[in-house]
Amino acid sequence: MIHKGIKIDNTFAEAFNMKASRIIVTADNYKWAKNACSSFTGFATSVIACGVEAGIEMELKKSETPDGRPGYSILLFSMSRSQLEKQLETRVGQCILTCPTTAIFSGLDGDDIIPLGKNLRYFGDGYQISKKINNKRYWRIPVMDGEFLCEESTARVPAIGGGNFLVLSNNRKSCLEACETAIDSIKNLPNVITPFPGGVVRSGSKVGSKYKALIASTNDAFCPTLRSISNSKLPQNVNCVMEIVINGLTFEDISLATKTCIESICKSKIKKDIISISAGNYGGKLGQYHFHLRKIMK
């Protein structure tokens, strides 16, 4: 299939059931809200070693936040409830509580509740104050710049992690530029995040390794440097491959994000250097969700 001049491979992305939560971080200005969010979402690229996958979902205007200050929403994804709880608490405690002027709120409603500021309140050493507004409990924790306001809990919802597509290009510069264009196009798309640095992954992985201790290793089929010595899936003219991993709350959210990304590449000037768009999967045996690229782009 050729879509607006770019070949779309007949393949699919394989994604997994995950659990997700959304939080809203506000501060006196965007600079400090971003500082807190960047810190919070740092080292949260893959559940393989980070415990959680997290990213900034979108920028929120003053009118869109609970306390009328500028902020960002963050989505977190994890394979288990306990890991999500643990990572959320640790990261809020170390990255949001510590960041000047910030406050944190739940961004999701639901019956499956997980703690947000519930245990963090003890940092107040007995000086913390509880407030209940609109059936939600908040904690005011005294800190050196005034007070840290945090909602007691947030909700956890079923979600999908691992939606992806690969950009196959004949040079690294164009490949990166195409990926940047794609990430920019979904910057403010709700319900999805791209957890890797800048939204782009260069070290796509396969399951297993020749070394027993490793559960994942380099995806040699898509490494251009191994084309001559491995079972490569790359044609001769592909010299660089980069992946965009998309986590979302629903199948439709990820499909829409994938489509938006690919469309933006197809519309960009750089498309002449893009050989094809492919996707990463494990033969369809591991993941519960399959995102067929050609179906999505129809």
Binding site: D28, P66, D67, G68, R69, T101, A103, I129, S130, K131, K132, I133, N134, N135, Y138, R140, D145, G146, E147, F148, L149
Partner: protein, 267 residues
């Protein structure tokens, strides 16, 4: 489905317990409601002889031409949106659990007493013992949001444990006695003996006299205040704090057991 509309058929001579309206969702039809008997004077009479009831949506109720002889309107209300036009009697919305109760008029004593949740908007004045402990219990309000556009009588908001009470007008004497926690905003003046025996809680007011026995706190940024004001304005759909910036916070009382705080508004 149209909302349930209730209107008195006759001029009411005796007091009526209107709490049957809070259980309206238990009835299968309007006919069943109309056939139900309630006390009227020293007799039991069918509701149909006192009220005209129309509509079918049991989760939305409108009372028109209400009268001060109607007591217990919205008592123990659960998940019903009730709107009342006219002045009403005692115990409006007492022991309310959830839902929304709006009154366009005044009410007598014990309004909003012992509520555990829900929202009450009173666009008028209330009598004494407002938002306090009901006659049947020693517990004040446990949660909920209450807004009063007018003035509030004496002995109000006693033993409040949680919740948010916003009063645009004045409040009488002995208010907030033995308050345990919660948040109160009084935009008007406050009577004598305010907050006697208070333990915790937040009071936002312009009355400087209340701060007499408190220590002034530093002029730090309180994230909570903006959030609270935002939340109140959102629920009321208007900015009642316009030109009323917070001037200072008082926290720390002569009585060490009192850890309540007062935010002083610009008068």
């Amino acid at each position: 489905m149209t909302e349930i509309t209730i209107k008195p058929k006759i001029k009411l001579k005796y007091r009526i317990d209107m709490s049957f309206l809070s259980k309206i969702q238990d009835y299968k039809s309007i006919k069943e409601i109309l056939a139900t008997k309630i006390s009227y004077g020293n007799k039991l009479v069918a509701i149909s002889s006192l009220f005209k009831i129309t509509g079918s949506n049991m989760s939305k109720v409108v009372i028109k031409s209400a009268d001060t002889s109607m007591d217990n309107i919205g008592k123990g209300l659960v998940n019903i949106d009730m709107t009342v036009y006219g002045n009403v009697g005692f115990s409006l919305g007492s022991n309310m659990i959830s839902g929304k109760l709006t009154l366009y008029g005044n009410c007598l004593d014990y309004a909003a007493s012992g509520i555990r949740g829900g929202k009450i908007f009173i666009y008028g004045n209330t009598g004494n013992y407002f938002a306090g402990k009901p006659n049947s219990s020693n517990e004040g309000i446990l949660d909920g949001f209450i807004y009063i556009k007018g003035n509030v009588g004496h002995n109000s908001i006693q033993r409040m444990r949680r919740g948010n009470v916003i009063i645009s007008g004045n409040i009488g004497d002995y208010a907030c006695a033995e308050m345990i926690s919660g948040s109160i905003v009084v935009m008007g003046s406050i009577g004598k003996f305010f907050a006697e025996g208070i333990k915790r809680g937040t009071i936002i007011t312009k009355e400087k006299k209340l701060t007499k026995n408190y220590r002034i706190a530093n002029n730090a940024e309180y994230n909570f205040v903006n959030f609270f004001i935002n939340s109140v304005n959102e629920q009321l759909d208007k900015n009642i704090f316009k030109n009323k910036a917070i001037v200072s916070r008082y926290h720390g009382h002569k009585n060490k057991e009192n850890v309540s705080e007062i935010f002083l508004l610009k008068s």
